[in-house]
Amino acid sequence: MGHGPAVKLGKDDAASFKTSLGVKMFFGYTFFYVLFVLLNVYFPKSMEIIIFGQTAAVVWGFSLIILAFIMAVIYNHFCTQAEKRYNS
């Protein structure tokens, strides 16, 4: 059938830890994303409020983009540690 990875992969005993962490972090980010979308839809004027010289919409946009990167780095840190712990 030709399934399975293109290269041989070693056993990954940290897989379930990483899956569980990934799901939790996904819901964490999704909460902020959904909040942002709902605020835009139901309280659009709130996006015009000025915070530190910027509209709330700009602050939200920057925050969501930067938050994605910070959460990605944190996720990688814990996954790498788990791989060392479980796969050594």
Partner: protein
């Protein structure tokens, strides 16, 4: 008409194309095996793959479409950036490592890894093909858009050039060449975009934008009394208040043999008349721009600040500014945006672009393109649906998912996704500055906002324009390559090899992939010509909706719900695919495409995700629960055979 060709731009363009082709022929040596052709041998470094991800993802939609949409609609264009990046969170946290673990060459491999089901192989391959073709359309449209100013060639020639070059790239070296082309392009795009933004900030803001030494158009305002007698007697009224133009709030004047159209504003003493731009399509098909043929150059670029306010005081220019000062000055200022009106008369149809001074605080928040203020439930639905499609689409795009097969391990898949998030996130921050830079630097072509970023570069001189445009063309080449690899894998590996059971060896599988690539390339060329003129980011929104509906429910449920069955997966793909496509085909925007009135469309929303994604989930759950018996029978048979 707004741009002229330069030998430097043409030279750089040819250099980029030849470089990409040379790289492909060089790498062709590595692709005699199926692993080499479809997965670049599975040994690409995660950093290289991460940048290649960025190269794959930062397509014409991101670079041309988002910047163009921000330039004309402000923050609403940037909503696409935010939604697209959010999608990478889904890819990293839920999909990256399992996809690497389960698949081999195509996304179908991962979906079918537990089942060996003919129905999954068929439906996943069809889904891959349709999603890739949907994604190909905006890339090809983007290619046509770029070739016009770069080479002075018509739209269809640009589409054909991309089609032929990309088919050559893919047919020679498959995923290996695609990966290195993407790496090169992704890195260059980040570098050059950063340079452009630094130059925009260094120039600062001004009420009289610079354009490579050329003066910005000086917009005239005229005054008239209640009987429309003009103070400036050199103008003559040729279509007044009682004409069809007058009924729409415009008048047509004539001076020195040239016609012009003006927007009427009633005042206490009469009227003020503001200059507009207009494009006329005569009944015989002839097109006139500001009353003249395109070559006369009377249709000029626009985009300026009406009142520039810094720290509460009106100024003429800011001088160099930092990124946050740039945005806060725009927030306080008033910027001239452009409204559109269509006026039919006996000679043809005239599209009028009129000035709409708008406070920066309204431009830098949603609402100019997507109606969120006092919106109807349907408008709210449409907005939420689009944001859902953008969020869910990335992790379901076949040409993105197959990139996980090019790295050697799950950890490498994860790390390459993080590099992608860093690169793509940074680029999306830049899009806000490039778009707002275009909006205020007098470079917007109102007839086609896709060229806003390259034209912003042109305002700094032809050298930067040449680099940016060539790079944007390379962007299209790279993304189309990835899409064609994904499509050819779906045909050769999923359909011919797995579904039809043709016993192909490595060599014939690669040959089948190359022949498929040529066929997909031909289809892409045709569609790129047909869809000329649509905003490329808008078109990508549809591709995301189809991918998110057809593929993501199946991927997620396979990974996280143990009762998922093969029939459930196949049903989910089928329902998601056809419901999203069906809703798109009867949407108001498609109605406009068919030459009908959008208001007459059977549905009044354009983004189908909020209906089609839940439908796909529901189909999977219902069919899986109905077919649990098959799984148990299969399991019992397996045990008895042991």
């Amino acid at each position: 008409m707004i741009y002229t060709q330069s030998p430097l731009a043409i030279g750089l363009f040819i250099f980029f194309v030849l470089f990409v082709l040379g790289l492909s022929f060089y790498l062709a040596r590595r692709t005699s095996s199926a692993e080499g052709y479809y997965a670049a041998g599975g040994n690409i470094h995660w950093m290289t793959n991460g940048i290649a991800f960025a190269g794959d993802y930062l397509s014409a939609a991101s670079f041309l479409g988002i910047c163009g949409m921000i330039a004309t609609s402000g923050y609403d264009g940037w909503m696409y950036s935010i939604g697209y990046l959010g999608g990478w969170v889904v890819a990293l946290f839920l999909v990256a490592e399992p996809m690497k673990r389960l698949g081999k060459y195509t996304f179908t491999d991962a979906l079918d890894s537990k089942f060996n089901s003919k129905s999954i192989q068929l439906m996943a391959a069809i889904s891959t093909l349709l999603v890739s073709i949907f994604y190909l359309i905006p890339q090809m449209v983007g290619a046509g858009v770029l070739v016009q100013p770069l080479m002075g060639l018509p739209h269809w020639v640009g589409v054909c050039i991309v089609g032929v070059v990309v088919t050559l790239i893919v047919a020679t070296a498959g995923m290996a060449s695609t990966t290195y082309v993407q790496f090169f392009k992704g890195a260059m795009l980040l570098l050059v975009s950063t340079t452009l933004v630094v130059m925009v900030l260094f120039r600062g803001l001004s009420t009289t934008p610079e354009n490579d030494g050329k003066p910005y158009h000086d917009f005239t305002t005229l005054y008239a009394d209640n009987a429309l007698v003009l103070e400036d007697s050199s103008y003559r009224v040729i279509a007044g208040l009682d004409s069809i133009f007058g009924k729409e709030g415009f008048v047509k004047l004539e001076k020195n043999g040239r016609e012009s159209i003006w927007k009427l504003h009633a005042t206490d003493n009469g009227y003020t008349l503001e200059e507009t731009l207009f494009a006329t399509r005569l009944n015989d098909g002839t097109r006139l721009y500001n009353g003249s043929p395109a070559d006369d150059g009377h249709f000029f670029p626009v985009g300026h600040i009406k009142e520039l306010i810094v720290n509460g005081e009106e100024v003429a220019a800011t001088g160099p500014v930092g990124p946050f000062s740039f945005l806060s000055a725009l927030t306080e200022s008033t910027i001239v945006l452009w409204g559109t009106a269509y006026v039919p008369d006996a000679d043809g149809i005239t599209t009028i672009y009129y000035q709409k001074p708008t406070p920066g605080s309204q431009i830098l928040r949603p609402g100019l393109r997507f109606k969120v203020d006092n919106s109807t439930p349907m408008e709210k639905f449409n907005f939420i649906s689009l944001m859902l499609a953008l969020f869910c689409g990335t992790a379901a795009l076949p040409h993105i998912l197959i990139r996980y097969y090019t790295v050697p391990s799950q950890a490498a898949a994860r790390k390459s996704t993080i590099v992608a998030i860093a690169g793509i996130g940074f680029f999306y921050l830049l899009t806000l500055f490039m778009g707002m830079g275009a909006m205020t630097n007098g470079v917007i072509n109102l007839l086609d906002n896709n060229m806003s970023a390259p034209l912003l570069a042109l305002s700094f001189g032809v050298f930067l324009f040449a680099i940016i445009s060539s790079l944007a063309f390379a962007t299209v080449l790279g993304t189309v390559s990835g899409l064609i690899v994904a499509s050819s894998g779906a045909i050769a590996h999923d359909l011919l090899d797995n579904f039809l059971g043709l016993k192909m060896n490595d060599r014939t599988k690669v040959r089948a992939g190359k022949i498929s690539a040529v066929c997909i390339g031909a289809i892409a060329i045709y569609l790129g010509i047909v869809f000329e003129g649509m905003n490329v980011s808008f078109l990508v929104g549809w591709a995301f909706a189809v991918a998110a509906s057809a593929n993501l429910p199946a991927i997620l449920m396979l990974l996280f719900w143990s009762k998922t069955t093969a029939r459930g997966v196949a049903a989910s793909i089928t329902v998601g695919l056809f419901s999203s496509l069906g809703l798109i085909l009867i949407s108001p925007d498609m109605w406009l495409r068919y030459g009908k009135l959008p208001a007459d469309a059977p549905i009044q929303f354009n983004s189908p995700a909020l209906i089609s994604i839940p439908l796909a989930f529901a189909a999977l759950v219902v069919i899986s629960l109905m077919t649990q018996k098959d799984v148990n029978v299969g399991h019992a048979t397996e045990l008895s055979n042991n």
